[in-house]
C-alpha cells in the first residue's frame, strides 16, 4: 500500500511540476499577480509530493518489502538499518528520485526565501525550475520508476553492492546531488534574466548566495567521494581522473568561475553575458555529470547499469533543457549590455584572469574525458586518456591560477597598480620561497613547488585581512578593532582560499608517498617509509552479512609500537563479491595505510603505504566548503533586503 502511495505522489509531483512551469511563466508574461503568486505554493506542493514519494521508498526499504522490485534488487533483510535507509538512494532509480527531490527543494527554497525578489523574477525563476523538474520527475515516473512491483515477491533480496555499504558513501550522494542540483537555481536565474532581458547588480547579489551554497555542497561531495575511493577502494590513491570523477570536477570548476564572475556583476555590473553563460554552463555540466555518466557511455570504475534505452531518454531531456537555455542565450544575450568599465589591471581584471584559467582547466579536463569518445566516433580508435595527460595539462594552468588567487584580492576595483600590491605581498613570497627551498633540500622539485604554492596560498589568503587591519603598523588594539569590522563574507573568501592551500599541501605530500607490495609469513617484518611493519597474525572474523579475514600488523618506529593495523578482506556470500577493508591510522601529518591481499602457502600479500599529509587533501576541501558557508551566513542577511547600490552607482557615473 505504501509503495502505491509513493507511486501516486510521484505522479502528483509531475502534475504539480508541470503547473509550476506553465502558470508562473505565463503569469509573469501577462503581468498577472494572481498567476505569479501561484509559484511558491506550487513549488512547495511539488516538494511535499516528492518528499512523500521518497519517504515511501525509504519505508519500503526499511521494512524490506521485497515485492518492490527496486528493494528486492538492492537490499536484503540482514542489512544494517543505516544501509537500508541509505540504500534507498544507492541504485539508479532511487538516486534519480533523490535528485528530483533535491530539485524540488531548490524550487521550494526560492519560494520560501525569495520573498524580497521582484514578483515577476521570482515567478520566472520558479517556473524555469518547475519546467526542469517536470522533465526529470517524468523520467523517474516512466522510465526509471522505483515503485515497480515484483510478483511473486522473493523471500530474500539480492543485496546491495557491498562496496556501497560504507558510511562515507551513504551520505556522499545527497551532498553531491545538493551541489549538482543547487546550480539549478543560478541556472533558473540566468534564464529568467534572459527572458526579462536585464541583468544588473541586484541580480548578481541574488544569484551569488545560491551559487555559493551549491558550490559548498559540491566541494564537500567531491571531497567525500575522493575520501571514499581512498579508503574503500584500497588502491592508495585519492583521485584517478576517472570520467565519473571528472564529471563532478567540471561543474565545480565552472561553478567556482561563476562565483567569482558574479562578484563582478554585483560590484561593477560587468561580465554580465559571461556570468549568464557560466550559470547555464555550470548546470549543464552538472546534468551531464549526473546523467551521461549513467548511460554507460564513458568507461569508468564506478559501475552503473548500462542501459542505452534510458540513455536516449536522458539525452533528449538534456537536449531540451540545455538546448532551450543556450537557444535563449543566443537569442537574448545580445541585449545585455555591459555598463561597468574597468582597466585590465584591476580586481575585475584579476577575476577575469581567474575565470579564464578555471575555464581553461575545465576545457582541458573536458577534452581529456570526452576525447576517447570522439576518437571512437570519428576515427573508430580505442583510446584511453589517463592521469599523465591530466597531470601534465592541469598543473601549468594551476600555477598562474594560484598566483592570481593571492594577487587579485590585493588589487583595487576599477583600476589598480601591480607594483604596490606585489610589494605588500613580500612576506608571503618570502615565506613561500623558504618553504620551497627547504622542501627542495629534502625532496624532489615538484613536491617542493607544491609546498611553496601551498604556503603562498595559505598565507596569501590572509594578506588582504592583514592589510585591512594594518596589522603590525597600528597598535594591536586598533588592529583588532579594524579586524572585527571585516565582514563575514570577506572571511569566507579568505578561508576558502586558504582551504585550497591546505589541499595543495596534501596533494604535494601524497607525491612523497611510499609504498611496497610484499608477501610475508606471520612474524615477518618489512620496512616501508621509515617504519617497521610486522605481520603478527591472520584470523577469521564473522560479520552480519559477510565473513571477514583480518590481518594484524604492528607498525613500529625505532622499536616503539606506533599503531596496530587490522586490514581485512570481506566476502559477501549473497553477492559473491569480496571487498578489501583498508586499515588507516592517521596523525594528520601522515597516514599509515595497509591493505590485505591474497593469501597462499602461508604467506599474505600486503600493500603498505606511508602517505604524508594525506588527510589535508580532504581537510582543505572541508575548509573550502566552510569558507563558503561562512560567506553565506553573512549574505543571508542581505538576501532579504537587496540594496540597489550598483544601480545607484551606475546612475551617478552615467
Amino acid at each position: 500500500m505504501i509503495p502505491e502511495l509513493g507511486h501516486f505522489a510521484l505522479a502528483l509531483a509531475v502534475v504539480l511540476a508541470g503547473s509550476q512551469a506553465v502558470l508562473p511563466l505565463w503569469g509573469a508574461e501577462r503581468r498577472d499577480p494572481a498567476l505569479m503568486a501561484s509559484a511558491p505554493p506550487l513549488a512547495i506542493g511539488q516538494f511535499l509530493a516528492l518528499a512523500l514519494a521518497f519517504g515511501a521508498l525509504v519505508w519500503s526499504s526499511v521494512v524490506s518489502d521485497f515485492s518492490v522490485l527496486n528493494v528486492a534488487e538492492n537490499s536484503q533483510s540482514l542489512k544494517p538499518l543505516l544501509y537500508k535507509i541509505t540504500g534507498a538512494w544507492g541504485d539508479h532509480e532511487g538516486s534519480i528520485l533523490l535528485w528530483c527531490l533535491i530539485l524540488a527543494i531548490c524550487g521550494a527554497a526560492v519560494g520560501i526565501f525569495g520573498g524580497a525578489l521582484p514578483a515577476a523574477l521570482r515567478a520566472r525563476v520558479i517556473g524555469v525550475l518547475g519546467a526542469t523538474s517536470a522533465g526529470f520527475v517524468l523520467f523517474s515516473l516512466t522510465v526509471s520508476n522505483p515503485f515497480v512491483r515484483l510478483w511473486p515477491a522473493p523471500m530474500e533480496g539480492r543485496g546491495m553492492n557491498p562496496l556501497l555499504e560504507d558510511p562515507g558513501l551513504a551520505f556522499h550522494p545527497p551532498i553531491l546531488y545538493a551541489g549538482y542540483v543547487g546550480f539549478a537555481i543560478p541556472f533558473a536565474f540566468a534564464l529568467a534574466a534572459l527572458i526579462e532581458g536585464r541583468v544588473d547588480a541586484a541580480w548578481g547579489r541574488w544569484v551569488r548566495p545560491w551559487a555559493l551554497a551549491a558550490w559548498a555542497f559540491l566541494t564537500g561531495g567531491i571531497a567525500l567521494g575522493s575520501w571514499w575511493s581512498y579508503y574503500v577502494l584500497g588502491w592508495g590513491g585519492y583521485w584517478f581522473w576517472d570520467p565519473v570523477e571528472n564529471a563532478s570536477l567540471l561543474p565545480w570548476l565552472a561553478g567556482t568561475a561563476l562565483l567569482h564572475s558574479a562578484i563582478v556583476v554585483e560590484k561593477r555590473e560587468a561580465l554580465k553575458i559571461w556570468t549568464v553563460l557560466l550559470a547555464i554552463g555550470t548546470f549543464s555540466l552538472s546534468l551531464c555529470g549526473t546523467f551521461l555518466v549513467r548511460s554507460g557511455i564513458l568507461n569508468s570504475v564506478h559501475a552503473f547499469a548500462n542501459d542505452p534505452a534510458r540513455g536516449v531518454f536522458i539525452l533528449v531531456l538534456l537536449a531540451l533543457v540545455i538546448g532551450t537555455a543556450l537557444g535563449l542565450f543566443a537569442w537574448r544575450a545580445p541585449r545585455l549590455m555591459p555598463t561597468g568599465v574597468f582597466a585590465p589591471l584591476s580586481r575585475e581584471g584579476a577575476l577575469v584572469v581567474n575565470n579564464i584559467l578555471l575555464c581553461a582547466i575545465a576545457a582541458v579536463v573536458f577534452t581529456g574525458t570526452t576525447y576517447p569518445l570522439f576518437a571512437q566516433l570519428l576515427a573508430g580508435a580505442q583510446i584511453s586518456v589517463g592521469a599523465p595527460f591530466f597531470n601534465a595539462t592541469v598543473l601549468p594552468l594551476a600555477i598562474p591560477l594560484f598566483a592570481a588567487m593571492v594577487v587579485g584580492p590585493m588589487l583595487s576595483w576599477k583600476r589598480a597598480q601591480l607594483a604596490p600590491a606585489l610589494l605588500r605581498l613580500w612576506w608571503v613570497a618570502l615565506a613561500a620561497l623558504l618553504v620551497g627551498l627547504i622542501s627542495a633540500w629534502g625532496w624532489a622539485a615538484l613536491p617542493a613547488l607544491g609546498f611553496a604554492g601551498a604556503a603562498w596560498l595559505v598565507l596569501g589568503a590572509f594578506a588582504p585581512i592583514v592589510e585591512r587591519a594594518r596589522l603590525f603598523r597600528l597598535p594591536l588594539g586598533a588592529s583588532w578593532v579594524r579586524l572585527s569590522g571585516v565582514p563575514l563574507a570577506a572571511w569566507g573568501g579568505v578561508i576558502a582560499h586558504a582551504g585550497l592551500g591546505l589541499t595543495t599541501a596534501g596533494l604535494s605530500g601524497m607525491a612523497l608517498a611510499e609504498h611496497r607490495i610484499v608477501a610475508v609469513h606471520p612474524g615477518e617484518t618489512v620496512a616501508v617509509g621509515g617504519y617497521d611493519w610486522t605481520l603478527l597474525g591472520l584470523r577469521d572474523a564473522p560479520g552480519p552479512n559477510y565473513t571477514a579475514r583480518l590481518a594484524e600488523i604492528r607498525v613500529a618506529r625505532d622499536g616503539r609500537t606506533v599503531a596496530i593495523l587490522t586490514p581485512g578482506r570481506r566476502s559477501y556470500p549473497l553477492q559473491r563479491t569480496t571487498t578489501t577493508e583498508t586499515a588507516i591510522r592517521t596523525n594528520l601529518a601522515r597516514d599509515l595505510y595497509a591493505v590485505l591481499g591474497e593469501e597462499h602457502d602461508g604467506t599474505a600479500v600486503l600493500r603498505l603505504h606511508v602517505n604524508p599529509l594525506a588527510p589535508w587533501i580532504w581537510l582543505g576541501a572541508l575548509v573550502m566548503a566552510l569558507g563558503g558557508g561562512l560567506s553565506l551566513a553573512d549574505r543571508r542577511l542581505r538576501i532579504g533586503a537587496p540594496l540597489r547600490r550598483g544601480a545607484a552607482a551606475r546612475a551617478a557615473s552615467a
Binding site: 553575458i273 553563460l277 547555464i280 554552463g281 549543464s284 551521461l292 548511460s295 554507460g296 557511455i297 564513458l298 568507461n299 548500462n306 542505452p308 534505452a309 540513455g311 536516449v312 539525452l315 538534456l318 537536449a319 540545455i322 538546448g323 543556450l326 537557444g327 542565450f329 543566443a330 544575450a333 545580445p334 541585449r335 570526452t370 569518445l373 570522439f374 571512437q376 566516433l377 580505442q382 584511453s384 607490495i517 608477501a519 591481499g597 591474497e598 597462499h600 600479500v605 600493500r607
Partner: protein
Amino acid sequence: MSGARPARVLPRRLLLALPLVAAAAGGLGFYALLRRMEAGRYDPHGVDNPLVGHAIPTFAALPAQAPATTGFGAADLRAAGRPVLVNFFASWCVPCRIEHPQLMALARAGVPLWGIAYKDHEAAAEALLAEEGNPYHQLARDESGRVSIDWGIYGVPETFLIDRAGIVRGHWAGPLSADLVASEVRPMLGKYA
C-alpha cells in the same frame, strides 16, 4: 541595440550562438555513440588490441630476465613451432600476483608460456619468481617498456596467444582467472594446437 553599430552586431550574435552549436554537436555525437552501443558495436569497457589477427610486431631479442640466461625476440617467437602464450608481468603489479597461480597451473599442464617483465628491476622480478614459482619457459625483460608499446600494452598483466605462424590470435587484458582459462584460453589453445 539601436543600430548604431550594425557591422559589429552580426559577429556578436554569431559568437553568442556558438555555445548552442557546440552543445548540439556534442549531443549528436553522444546520440551516435548511444546508437552504436545499442547495436553492440561499441563497448566502452573493452580493451581492444589492434594486433589480434595480425602478425606479432618485429623486435630484436630482449635481454634475459633471471633465472633465464637468454632472452628472446620476435624471430624466436615465430620459430617456436607451436602456439605460445606471451605474458607481460611485473613484480610491482598486484593483479599479476593474483594471476600467478593460473600461470603455474598452465605451466604444469605443459602450455608454453613466455614471459616479458615489463618496466621492472631484474632482481625484483627474479625475487618474485623465486618466491612464487617460475611458470615461464622463456623469460625476457623490457625495462624501458619500448617493445611493450609496440605490442599495445595497456597495463600489466596482459596475455597474448600467438599461433605457430606468428599471428596474434588471442588477447586478455587483466589477470587470467580460472574461469577465463577454462572458457577462453584452453579452447583457443586447442583450436590452434
